[in-house]
Symmetry: none
Subunit: 242 residues, 2 copies
């Protein structure tokens, strides 16, 4: 099970089509962020052909962070490639991941952008990965209700069996080499040593390992390593700049 979150949806009809598509395949948690025409919406009711009456009430939020506050894993749907480093999931692999997390008591959600613009960059940045439906390259037009329908269908399909692939888009920045990562991690450890972060010698190896886990898991790019170096410098040396 997972939540469907519509970011700034414009037309009530599309919210209704979303509810209908969800409920066709047993999904019931619909959340709206800042719907243009307010809520409830008569056109949505009509277009849902009864689904909205049968589902639990739709939740409405003014901001995305509020809408996803209780979730642990968030995917965004987008056809366009972004200059951001995110895992790209096929619908199938996305649903397998969501199913696995659900079984581990995590709550997952899928974001859909406004009809005209799709997900904004800041909305994509809030996601752990993106889902792209592999359409005909010469004709990729899928509307909001159709996209939700395919995700809901794939969910039903995956829950009832499984298999497929997943890539990581690196945008313009290549992944950092192990050496570059090591330079960064060593520097971080030194700075933490100097600033008294490691309270006891006993705990130090474990703490270091935990820190390394955080950063190695993220598939850091060269550009991001430069950012992280900048963060340390900024936090560490601001006093001396005064």
């Amino acid at each position: 099970m997972f939540s469907i979150i519509l970011c700034n949806p414009q037309m009530g009809e599309n919210i209704g089509a979303t509810a209908r598509a969800m409920f066709n395949f047993g999904l019931t948690d619909l959340r709206l962020v800042n719907p243009r025409d307010g809520w409830p919406n008569e056109r949505a009711e009509t277009m849902s052909t009864g689904a909205l009456d049968l589902m639990p009430p739709v939740q409405v939020f003014s901001t995305l962070p509020e809408a996803v506050a209780d979730l642990h894993f968030i995917l965004g749907t987008t056809a366009r490639s972004r200059a951001m480093v995110k895992p790209v999931y096929s619908p199938q692999i996305a649903m397998e991941e969501i199913q696995e997390r659900t079984l581990n008591n995590q709550k997952a959600g899928i974001l859909f952008g406004a009809e005209r613009s799709g997900l904004l960059n800041d909305e994509v940045a809030a996601c752990h990965g993106i889902i792209t439906v592999p359409t005909n390259e010469a004709f990729t037009s899928l509307n909001l209700g159709q996209s939700v329908l395919l995700m809901a269908y794939e969910w039903m399909r995956t829950v009832k069996n499984t298999s497929s692939s997943k890539n990581l888009e690196f945008g313009d920045s290549p992944p950092a080499s192990q050496k570059e990562q090591e330079v960064f991690l060593s520097r971080l450890e030194n700075e933490l040593e100097e600033t008294g972060f490691f309270r006891t010698e006993d705990l130090k190896p474990t703490m270091k390992r935990n820190i390394r886990n955080i950063f190695t898991r993220a598939d850091i790019t060269e550009q991001e390593l430069r950012t992280l170096h900048g963060i340390i410098t900024s936090l560490r040396h601001w006093n001396s700049k005064q």
Copy 2:
């Protein structure tokens, strides 16, 4: 590849939605049996959002036998159980069968009934089997365009079938909720703001987004968030501790 055959379609909009859904996933052979409003149809053109212009011309027939004369294998879509002995295929198994026959130079087609009535018994009788999409039993409403979309999607999915996986072990610490992550990211941004990390206002949104990407990608645990908070505190306040 297979043909989509609409039996006695009523609304041009649904024919257009069918064309759009087909072409999204690379299907191009659309056949109409006795369309109520004739052909060509302006509403179909509009609703296809360009697909009808890009696909080969739609073929129109007065009877079903003429429409399927060159085909070897025909499946009909229906949600209702009929008093007929027919193999019932899930969409997935149907597409595997169609793919196998296609590879053996057979031509396949899928029939869809009129919007109001669905396939008539005589139309079902002409089929080698039926396809049923396993929907929520309490809510099975799928319209024509949606049904075609799911078949076209399943076709693409079956043809491109691959496999792979991805895991992340969480150890003893549960993943941090979005709310906890947001608290951390907001704090980090504030501290960077105060220490002059963002050199110019112009670059700030992009820099913030890049930073968020690093951390959201890593599937941070609660324990790790505590570590990260500790790192910021340590780097930031060491001077005041002296």
